[in-house]
Amino acid sequence: MTLLTAPPPPATRDLAHLSDESLLSLVAASDDDALAELYDRFGRVAYSLALRILRDEALAQDAVQEAFLGVWRSADRFLAERAKASTWILTLVHRRAVDLVRREERRRGEPLESAPEPAAPDTTEDEATLGLQRRLVQEALSQLSPEQRQALELGYYGGLTQSELAEQLGQPLGTIKSRMFSGLSRLRDLLAEAGLEQSYP
């Protein structure tokens, strides 16, 4: 019987050819090499997102660390989710960052300082794909109405709740909800037109 006996791990493992979803399955089986590979794929985007929301390097690192430990601890539950692995991971990162920014702002009683927008990174060959995705999403965002874009940006990057947003913009709550919905739906169509893979037609 060999079923219960794991083979010894090879000295080096090339996980680069595996899909994100396959890697998550390995993470669910406590494979830390697979976690490292997922970090290599998503760590940068995760950190940029957390930094944009939290505007503080130490807090952004905390958010990314907690999110990836969340991936480690709950990857088995991803298997039942109907989503791409990238969506699942980035959702964990976003939630963590939003939780932290809200907690931090409550603690300080005021919004976190706005830091200057970080400079766009050098576009090395390594980052070509990331850069392309960024341009596609930015391009699609720029085609939304200013009201839709504002609702998405303040909600997603600002960590504001819909009620805070309604108050800040002096708009009824229903208007904010509707802008978020129409903005996300339109963005989805634009990304699909631009050829960015969407798994739900």
């Binding site: 760590g43 985007v45 997102l49 990314v64 990836f68 995705q133 819909q162 978020m180």
Partner: protein, 219 residues
């Protein structure tokens, strides 16, 4: 007052407060169209992450994460987190998740009475028994019981089948398609084990595959 359907986009953007979020997750547990809409909007929301330019994280962060992960092997039975991230679970699985982390009374106070899991939990003295991380069993003192299964949809030609096993003898207890709830069709008493296996459509007389979910022997 929020119309729950209207909360799907703010939820996808993590733009609800805790109270609204709970309300919406309860709604989500019973609304398939919101679950589908959420899956779509989540994906689009996550793509917004790519529009945030920023520096690379410090190299030490990766090592910190890996060190902590290695020091922290997950438990064999992991508990559901308070917030499910897309909450694709059926109503009872959400109840099971809440119950499994110690909020069992929630099930008894839920207003939805069509959910067999909630119905069993509403009985006096009922309790929740985990089935690994694939679901939970609610069992009442009179032996009535229900399963909340959280599992991918069974592939074509297959179904999940529940079993009540006593003294090593499995008895058929009903079929499930995936994430769903099931009233167990026979009493579940002390010493019994309840299990779920993947079988061919229509069910079989004896389990032919290893269980995807199983309780310990009930005390």
């Amino acid at each position: 007052m929020n119309d729950p359907h209207s909360l799907v986009a703010p939820y996808a953007l993590d733009a609800l407060d805790l109270q609204e979020e709970r309300e919406f997750e309860e709604h989500l547990a019973t609304c398939e169209s919101c679950r589908q809409e959420l899956a779509r909007l989540r994906e689009t929301a996550a793509s917004l992450a790519y529009a945030a330019p920023g520096p690379a994280p410090p190299l030490a962060l990766k090592e910190r994460i890996l060190d902590q992960a290695r020091a922290d092997r997950p438990n064999l039975v992991s508990l559901p987190r308070r917030r499910s991230w897309t909450a694709p679970l059926a109503a009872a699985a959400a109840v099971a998740a809440a119950a499994a982390i110690g909020l069992g009374v929630w099930g008894a106070t839920r207003s939805t009475s069509t959910d067999p899991f909630a119905a069993v939990l509403a009985q006096s003295g009922a309790r929740v028994v985990p089935m690994g991380d694939r679901g939970a069993l609610a069992v009442a003192p009179d032996g009535s019981a229900a399963i909340a299964l959280s599992a991918p949809n069974a592939p074509a030609g297959k179904t999940y089948e529940a079993w009540v096993i006593r003294n090593g003898t499995p008895k058929r207890a009903g079929l499930l398609s995936g994430t769903s709830t099931l009233r167990i069709q026979r009493p579940v008493g002390t010493g019994a084990v309840v299990a779920v296996t993947l079988e061919r459509t229509g069910g079989v007389d004896r389990p032919t595959t290893p269980p995807v979910a199983q309780t310990r022997a009930l005390s």
